[in-house]
């Protein structure tokens, strides 16, 4: 289970006197979660890897600005989510470039594929369809709603933690989550009717 930074490392972070070796411990503790959130947001394994590295680099370079008012996990996820937003913006720009023939991106990157956790073929098919329906519904959400959905139901964060990461009121997080779950439920119902 991933924990928030231990008490021995946290004071060192807040006093900005963290060596690279000590920061390695922060990386090892949080890299899985940061990577997972980024995969869910950018839907590209290679890009998520690159952005995870970028996230930790930025975190190290801005250690002096970390005042310890939130947990290291919250701080890192905030950086990761901002990077994902930038990535989405750049991707939109790339799309338009491709459309007008300015870029020749080959789109051969490794995209997210859901493996079925259930071994029985029949059940596997059902579960796969169910997961796919949720995933498709999540894809149709806005960036903000998808982020909140992933943080709540994949990372299992509390509403106040999500609000802190995104700099929103808890009420706003609830509203976004309500709409996201509404969309997911509708998609699941559609799938059941097929």
């Amino acid at each position: 289970m991933e924990n928030v930074l231990s008490d021995t490392v946290r004071p060192a972070l807040s006093t900005q006197a963290l060596s690279i070796a000590e920061f390695d411990e922060v990386v090892r503790t949080h890299q899985r979660r940061v990577y997972r959130v980024l995969v869910l947001l950018v839907r590209d394994l290679d890009e998520a890897d690159t952005l995870t590295q970028e996230c930790f680099l930025r975190a190290y370079q801005s250690l002096s600005r970390f005042r310890g008012e939130c947990s290291v996990q919250t701080w890192l996820l905030r950086i990761a989510i901002n990077l994902a937003k930038d990535y989405a913006r750049n991707r939109r720009a790339r799309f338009w470039k491709q459309l007008v023939g300015l870029s020749t991106d080959d789109n051969q990157r490794q995209t997210l594929e859901f493996a079925c956790p259930n071994p029985t073929p029949e059940k596997a098919l059902l579960v796969r369809a169910e997961v796919q329906a949720v995933w498709e519904a999540a894809r149709s959400l806005s960036q903000q709603q998808r982020t909140i959905f992933a943080l709540r139901f994949v990372e299992e964060l509390e509403l106040n933690e999500i609000a802190e990461i995104l700099g929103l009121q808890v009420g706003s997080v609830k509203t976004h989550l309500f709409r996201a779950v509404h969309a997911v439920r509708n998609k699941l119902k559609e799938q059941q009717w097929r």
Binding site: Y35, Q53, V127
Partner: protein, 174 residues
């Protein structure tokens, strides 16, 4: 009181997203809503497990990623500044800016009211002297010449060394 279908749906979503007390109370009394919440929770937990599995990587992936982060940080220039050094550089920049601002500013123009009273007084004296003189200032060189000539003895021939003084003029004087 009968609730609409949408109200039931909303209660289920509320219970799932924010676990509000009224929604939970409703679910205690409504079996169909309880079943729907359970079904949705199952779907979401299946999705969560699948997402975790899909993003899970072998040990060497994490080791390689951590090593790359380490090497990038080690290679990156140190941009971490202490508070003291930041303040010093900020003050130095501020000082330089102020210096440049002062240098670039135009010299203040002295207004009439700022001129010294001495210059006024001197000007007044000069005017008075000019008025007291018999000759205008423009003819002053000629006056001086005449004075010079009268100062010399009447029998002496004045020496006109100046080349501008023509022979004809000298004859006329004699």
């Amino acid at each position: 009181m009968a609730m609409s279908h949408n109200s039931h749906d909303d209660r289920v979503l509320e219970a799932l997203t924010s676990r509000s007390v009224p929604a939970e109370d409703h679910l205690l009394a409504c079996a169909s809503c309880r079943a729907e919440r359970a079904q949705l929770e199952t779907s979401l937990s299946v999705f969560s497990a699948a997402a975790r599995e899909a993003t899970d990587q072998p040990g060497h992936f994490w080791t390689r990623q951590a090593a790359q982060i380490h090497s990038t940080i080690a290679a990156a220039p140190q941009r971490r500044l202490t508070f003291g050094s930041r303040m010093t550089s900020a003050l130095a920049l501020l000082g330089l800016f102020a210096f440049l601002l002062v240098r670039a500013a135009p010299a203040p123009k002295t207004s009439v009211s700022q001129t010294s009273p001495n210059s006024d007084h001197e000007l007044l004296l000069a005017v008075e002297q000019a008025l007291q003189r018999d000759t205008p200032a423009a003819l002053e060189p000629v006056t001086l010449l005449v004075e010079d000539m009268t100062r010399t003895s009447p029998g002496d021939t004045p020496s006109f060394a100046s080349p501008s003084f023509s022979k004809e003029q000298s004859r006329h004087v004699n």
